[in-house]
Amino acid sequence: MGFLRFAGFSVVRAWQGFWRNAMMSLAATATVVLMLSLLAALFIIISGLNSGLEFIESKVGVTVRLADDLPEIGRELIIRDAEALPGVATVTYVSPEEALERLREAYRAAGQELDTGGANIKLYSSLEITLTDASAGSSVAAALAEHDGVERILTKQDEYDALLGIINVIRTAGIVVVGLVGITVLFMIINTIRIAVFSRAPEIEIMRLVGASDSFIRWPFILEGVLCGLIGSLVTIVAVAAIWGPIQPIMVSVFQMPIAVSSQFLATLSLVLLATGLGLGALGSWISVRSYLAATT
């Protein structure tokens, strides 16, 4: 009962305090919305790029073209060496006949029939190597290039490395920008609550005089800051949900991101936004209350 009264008192006073200096509170809330919008954009882009990376990772492998005149014993040697290399998962031999069959399949899939014009075309034989670690592609390729009987080596390593580089740059830049805006938000909230504390100075004096405990004096202000964070994150969540419709297909097709289809993704994002908003609000008002209410008794 006592706690409910305390909680009720604090929430009501926080709400009154929020609207008492509405201009300041709304400005602080607006900065929360700005910051969380940036955070949401960063979260969406990084998630998209990450799943693009995973997609490429699953495709990254090393294809080794073998010389036509390589004897079977030489091939077996290369296979054994390849299997022993770090980062290699499987090594599969693709014979010229199989390669031709695959080509036929590919044509059929496209609705055509492979027409060799009667010629007896002969394709390369090759080894298809899958990796346990996508970043091992270059070293595997380098090691196998030294073998005689290896004609050419193909990897998707360059694409993978390029995408990884882009992700790292965006992630770093994004974290810096969101961090800087986050600091601005923190200052806005600290300032808003500081003004709220000053505007309630006569009440605080009387509260102290009549024996109100510190928690009755402090918590309304902390909750007032939390309220800025709460309203800011709810506004951002509603906005993100509203524009999610057009974004979703892009995420799926451009970034190869099947997870974007599920409602789970939006739920996770909302949770991140809510936690960040509430956390910033609480932290800012806590700092303010500590520095402007601590000294006096």
Partner: protein, 245 residues
């Protein structure tokens, strides 16, 4: 029934002073000595005036009792607790045992009389039922029944001070401390406020009132503590005080 076997209710330390100062001194950080070597004791139910010229240390004396500041020397004890050793967290509990009234009333201008009194209960977590029951009772005790819905700006100085007194009594304090409560009031109104404080004292509350008003002090025939330059120069009952002035 076990209760029949018990002695009448009587706190174990009923004779111990409710306020006591032993060798108390206050030196402000700027070196100003506001109180020195003050020794005084007030028993439960006492009524005392605290007098002295401006700057004698009356307000400092009062701020010590509500632990708005600490003595830099000696020991201050209120309601059995050593204020020098009191933790910060225990101060609100102390303040609920002491009602305080000031010259400038310190009412919240946007709240009505009843709301000002209720505020002191709300911020200390009192249940709604307690607030509903206690506020009208206190307002009628101080004679403000008909003004409960008025704002402080719609009241006379005396009525504002009555509101402040009602607020000071919300926790049924053992002690009521007033720092120049009549300082802003005309003589007639001052007398009414004094009568009210006497009435509260008659109900068992210890009352300490700092004042400049010589006339009131002389007429009331109560105990007088006189400060001068931070020293307690006199602690006498009214008869002795009158003989000398």
């Amino acid at each position: 029934m076990p209760s029949l076997l018990r002695k009448p209710a009587r706190p174990p330390d009923a004779d111990a002073p409710v306020i006591s100062m032993v060798d108390v001194g206050v030196t402000y950080p700027n070196g100003k000595v506001a109180l020195s070597d003050v020794n005084v004791a007030l028993a439960a139910g006492d009524f005392a005036f605290l007098v002295g010229p401006s700057g004698a240390g009356k307000s400092t004396f009062i701020r010590l009792l509500i632990r708005e500041q600490r003595a830099t020397a000696g020991t201050v004890t209120v309601a059995g607790r050593d204020l020098g050793r009191m933790r910060r967290g225990a101060v609100p509990g102390l303040r609920r045992r002491i009602g305080t009234v000031f010259q400038d009333f310190r009412l919240l201008p946007a709240k009505t009389v009843a709301e000002n009194v209720a505020f002191a209960l709300e911020v200390t977590g009192a249940p709604r039922a307690t607030i509903r029951e206690r506020v009208p009772r206190l307002l009628s005790l101080v004679g403000l029944d008909r003004h409960s819905g008025h704002l402080p700006s719609q009241l006379s100085g005396g009525e504002q001070q009555r509101t402040a007194i009602a607020r000071a009594l919300v926790h049924d304090p053992a002690i009521l401390i007033a720092d120049e409560p009549t300082g802003n009031l005309d003589p007639v109104t001052s007398w009414e406020i004094i009568q009210l404080l006497i009435g509260i004292n008659d109900l068992g509350t210890t009352v300490l009132m700092a004042t400049h008003n010589q006339e009131i002090v002389n007429a009331m025939r109560r105990r007088v503590l006189a400060l001068e330059g931070g020293r307690l120069v006199r602690d006498e009952d009214a008869a002795a005080y009158e003989r000398e002035y």
